[in-house]
Amino acid sequence: MLWTSFLALLLLPLTLVSATLEAERNQLVKLAAAGNGVIKLDESTFNLLTHPKRTWSAAIQFTAMDKRRKCSPCKEFNPAWDTVAKAWTKAPTEHRNTHFFATIDFDNAQSVFQKLNLMSAPVVSVYPAAEGSRKLASGKTDPSKYDFSNGFDPAPLAEQLSHHTPIPIPYRAPINWGKVASTILSAAALLLFARFCKPVLTGRLIWVIMTVVPSLAFMGGLMFVQIRGSPWEMQNGQWLAQGHSNQYGKEVQMVAIIYGSLASAFLALVLVTPYVSPARQRVQIYTLILIIAFIYSSLLSLFRFKNRGYPFKMFFS
């Protein structure tokens, strides 16, 4: 009798710990429910969430949303974070309450940022469970950082974070109704256009345009800009990127226009000039040749800017 109560006494701290942890978890669950899936943290709740004996995992967004901080990536990323966190509220309760989403703002918890030595925002850290059944097999308890290389979209975020949640985050990309509507509208417009402009569509010119213009854009590096997401131009108005294998969006336009005008000049020489009267012919030929020389020369100087070692030039370097 005595022994059992003694044993119970020995076990008391343990049960007390688990009891407090359970209380803490309930507190977190409430907080999460209140914040639409996201716990708004301050210093004390941060320490609570990242408790060294936590049986839950947590994904925390470190951000600086205040205007004074001028953190535009933070504003860009925050909606994605909230969307994914909201998607997690749809997970079954027994799983939902073992992983939490939280946001901590620099202006509410400067000391936390200082403690973690965070210099930039946004940062997403995932704290794995330190105790209990969800503890990692490798025994790791340090937080790991989310890799922003896939951009600020919710889909890759949900996919990456699903590695750390007990079940994959039930995130579904919302149907982009605007896009659907515009597709339907443009298809309808196209059909209407085809209905009324049959002579145009069966003529060759529209097809010439539909072939040559995209070709020029592709040769101007359109796909490079699309894939790399290059900016249109720099903020100081600089629109030529340094280097042979780099370019800005405006260069696509400029280069395509240059190619296009050179091609049109040659086309005029072949398709227009030989059919006009001799006097006009001479004027046209000399004008076109001058135009070609001038534009080609500018193209070369553009290329010399991109490729410093290029030795050839025409009129101006």
């Binding site: 010119l205 592709f218 227009v272």
Partner: protein, 783 residues
């Protein structure tokens, strides 16, 4: 008719014809000579050596083929690659290239010309470029005439876009594939024009050769069906099309299935479904035409139309359903990433990591094509003027080719022939017009002239075309009609530029001389450009590097071969060498040692294992190395010499690929400074400083600088004066310019200590009480 300049009139037409064809042969011979000669820069500047990475494997395979015969080659299992997995070489390669060299080698030996197999391999690409020039000539001849053909041949002979992949020593599949591509297209056009099953079969046979030679054959597999489909949609179905396509598809597909690496793919993967679908469509359409020709009943024709459409839809649904069910494999990642350009970076970093899979910026287009880049659209527009079936082909090719070339630098190669052909058509039309001595007839009424002028005016003022005198009367009648018709008329007027109604005539000798002179200037400039680009940018073997001494003389940097020969001479024959996959083929080709991973990147997990070993701490990496029997680790370090293609610069890809498999253990952000920079100096993150790659790269680097601050010349960063230390590996070899560093993996300590404490003991340090346990268990669980 007035002539601008006089022509000799006492020549018989047959003499002119004979001389012209003789001159054409001479010209083609010179073009071939120029094509071969301009590719020999690499041999002259360096030596007759195999270039880069993949060619080393091709060379090694060819040696096996030449020395042991075709059957041995076919059944070759290579246990030294992808250690310990091995690689079934015969079933996992496109054997066309090796077979071609083998045949040439055997013919030469049968003729008692004892040529070394290496020289056959080195000179194969230049030789085939001459054949490409000929095939392009034949192709362009079908589009316009012989003179355009000669121009096209000259362009493709020296254009950098093609030279970049076919210099001497660049012994890769592309070396022969472009010839096969052009010849297949030529025979397809020929088959289509003549409706001959013979040329269809020729196209199929060359298609088979192409399938056996290059994975890019899928381009043909989809180009020809696309062409056929567009022709059908344009209402140009004919029995010629039916015969040409059916013979090409049936024979070509059956033949391509004989290549073991391709096998049943032509009927089971999405890349090939377009060809199959168009084949089925052609059968339906031709059946419909047949019935239509024999049955007159109106109702029956309606019924026929409905049933044909139904069959078509059912067929499409069938293919879609089979794909959904998994009987037909969906698009493979490599091809899919051409459409969804973000796909590869997200899901297949190994594809995205290759530099030739990057998108193309505009300077590359100009560098590779120079003035062809703006003559090319001119040629495409001129194709619209003729618009025979073969011109449709060039137009489709132009659009598709520019897209693909924009998405991937590597595919510039498939665009280049089309650019050469179209530009040649344009330039040759220009020269035809301005060299033709006939002057305009002075008796011509000026009325059509003004007509033309107004057309030219319409070109400049878009959308609001001026009405010509002729148009005005009918236009007045329809003024009440909607303005959309105005728009349409404007288009018609603009479009009429493309219809040629009377022969082009140029007056005056001076304007002729100016135009022809400018054309000649452009051509000469092009030759200079090509020569410069070829010698400056595309002729480096990358196995041997060159730099300039202070007096301007060339200094050869031969570190790669030095290191590989050191391996060959100083290590056991079965000593496994670990390196990043880029160097796998070179190690097996030059050092003849087993490698973990190589450039045939078929096993992503194996590559990620190497990436993990490189990006983990020594303690984590050591068990991985020991389990894979690795004895030597080879890395490339450019920090001393300023060689930017070294492993530290590639390192993030190793991290990313490893992260793809072990997201818990390797995380890319840990390798950056807190400010998000990629640094190697004192500010580098701790993870970076602890990882094996960093340690191996900078081990003993500071000793070189004798106490002053070491500088990494690639990244322009100052390193700490005390460099990293190594416990589990020891330096075995470092090449002259420190480009290649080889480390030997230590054996386990014979007293059972972990190597860190063993080292500390040797150095006389006291053993710390709390030594970090080797976390073997975790690694066992994860690998």
């Amino acid at each position: 008719m007035a002539l601008a300049y006089s022509l000799p009139s006492n020549l018989a037409p047959s003499t002119v014809q004979n001389t012209a064809s003789f001159l054409r042969i001479i010209a083609l011979a010179f073009i071939s000579g120029a094509a071969i000669a301009s590719r020999l820069f690499a041999v002259i500047n360096f030596e007759s050596v195999i270039h880069e990475f993949d060619p080393w494997f091709n060379y090694r395979a060819t040696k096996v083929l030449a020395s042991q015969g075709f059957y041995e080659f076919w059944n070759w299992f290579d246990p030294t690659a992808w250690y310990p997995l091995g690689r079934v070489v015969g079933g996992t390669i496109y054997p066309g290239l090796m077979a071609t060299s083998g045949v040439i080698y055997n013919i030469l030996h049968a003729l008692n010309l004892p040529v070394d197999i290496r020289n056959v391999c080195v000179l194969l690409a230049p030789g085939f470029s001459a054949l490409t020039a000929w095939a392009t000539y034949m192709f362009t001849k079908e589009l316009k005439d012989e003179s355009a053909g000669l121009l096209a041949a000259a362009f493709i002979g020296i254009v950098p876009g093609y030279i970049s992949r076919s210099v001497a020593g660049s012994y890769d599949n592309e070396a022969i594939a472009i010839f096969l591509l052009m010849f297949t297209f030529y025979s397809w056009i020929k088959a289509l024009k003549t409706g001959s099953a013979f040329f269809g079969t020729i196209a199929a046979l060359f298609y088979f050769y192409m399938v056996a030679a290059w994975g890019g054959y899928a381009f043909i597999t989809n180009m020809i069906p696309l062409h056929a489909l567009v022709l059908i949609l344009m209402g140009r179905f004919s029995s010629r099309l039916y015969v040409a396509y059916s013979s090409w598809y049936a024979i070509g597909t059956l033949a391509s299935m004989q290549v073991p690496f391709v096998g049943f793919q032509p009927v089971r993967t999405s890349e090939h479904m377009a060809a199959l679908g168009v084949f089925g469509l052609l059968q339906i359409v031709s059946f419909a035409y047949l019935v239509k020709a024999h049955v007159s009943s109106k109702q029956f024709q309606t019924l026929l139309f409905v049933s044909v459409v139904t069959i078509g839809i059912l067929g499409t649904l069938g293919i879609v359903g089979l794909t959904y069910k998994g009987y037909i494999a969906p698009w493979t990642g490599r091809f899919y990433s051409l459409w969804d350009t973000g796909y590869a970076k997200k899901y297949i970093p190994i594809i995205a990591s290759v530099s030739e899979h990057q998108p193309t910026a505009w300077p590359s287009f100009f560098m590779d094509l120079q003035f062809l880049v703006f003559l090319f659209p001119v040629g495409v527009v001129l194709c619209f003027r003729e618009l025979r079936d073969e011109h449709v082909f060039v137009i489709i090719y132009a659009l598709v080719g520019t897209y693909f070339a924009g998405v991937m630098v590597r595919l510039m190669l498939t665009l280049t022939p089309c650019v050469c052909v179209a530009a040649a058509v344009a330039l040759s039309t220009l020269l035809d017009t301005y060299i033709d001595p006939r002057m305009p007839d002075t008796t011509d009424t000026p009325a059509p002239d003004t007509d033309r002028v107004s057309v030219a005016g319409a070109t400049t003022s878009e959308g609001t075309p001026k009405k010509t005198k002729k148009d005005k009367t009918p236009a007045a009648e329809v003024t009440q009609k909607a303005s959309i018709n105005d728009f349409a008329t404007g288009f018609e007027v603009l479009g009429s530029i493309l219809e040629k109604d009377k022969p082009p005539r140029v007056a005056g000798l001076d304007s002729r001389i100016v135009v022809v002179g400018v054309a000649l200037y452009l051509l000469v400039f092009f030759v200079q450009h090509c020569t410069w680009v070829t010698s400056y940018a595309y002729s480096s073997p990358s196995v041997v590097l060159a730099s300039r001494n202070q007096d301007g003389s060339q200094h050869i940097i031969d570190d790669f071969r030095e290191a590989y020969y050191w391996l060959r001479q100083n290590t056991r024959e079965d000593a496994v060498v670990m390196s990043w996959w880029d160097y796998g083929y070179q190690i097996s080709g030059m050092a003849d040692r087993p490698t973990l991973v190589d450039n045939n990147t078929w096993n992503n997990t194996h590559i990620a294992t190497v990436g993990k070993a490189m990006s983990s701490t020594e303690e984590v990496a050591y068990p991985i190395l020991r389990k894979h029997d690795v004895e030597y680790v080879l890395i490339i370090f450019g920090g001393l010499m300023g060689y930017s293609g070294d492993d530290i610069n590639k390192f993030l890809w190793m991290v990313r690929i490893a992260q793809g498999v072990w997201p818990d253990e390797i995380q890319e952000p840990n390798y950056f400074t807190p400010a998000g920079e990629y640094r190697v100096d004192a500010q580098a993150s701790q993870t970076m400083k602890d990882c094996l790659m960093y340690k191996m790269s900078y081990y003993r680097f500071s000793n070189l600088f004798g106490g002053s601050t070491p500088v990494d010349r690639v990244r322009n960063q100052h390193l700490p004066t005390t460099g990293p230390t190594l416990d589990y590996l020891e330096e075995a070899f470092t090449s002259e310019n420190w480009l290649v560093r080889i480390y030997q993996v230590k054996k386990e300590d014979s007293l059972g200590r972990d190597l860190k404490s063993a080292n500390a003991f040797v150095e006389g340090k006291k053993r710390k009480r709390a030594k970090p346990p080797v976390r073997r268990k975790a690694i066992v669980a994860s690998s």
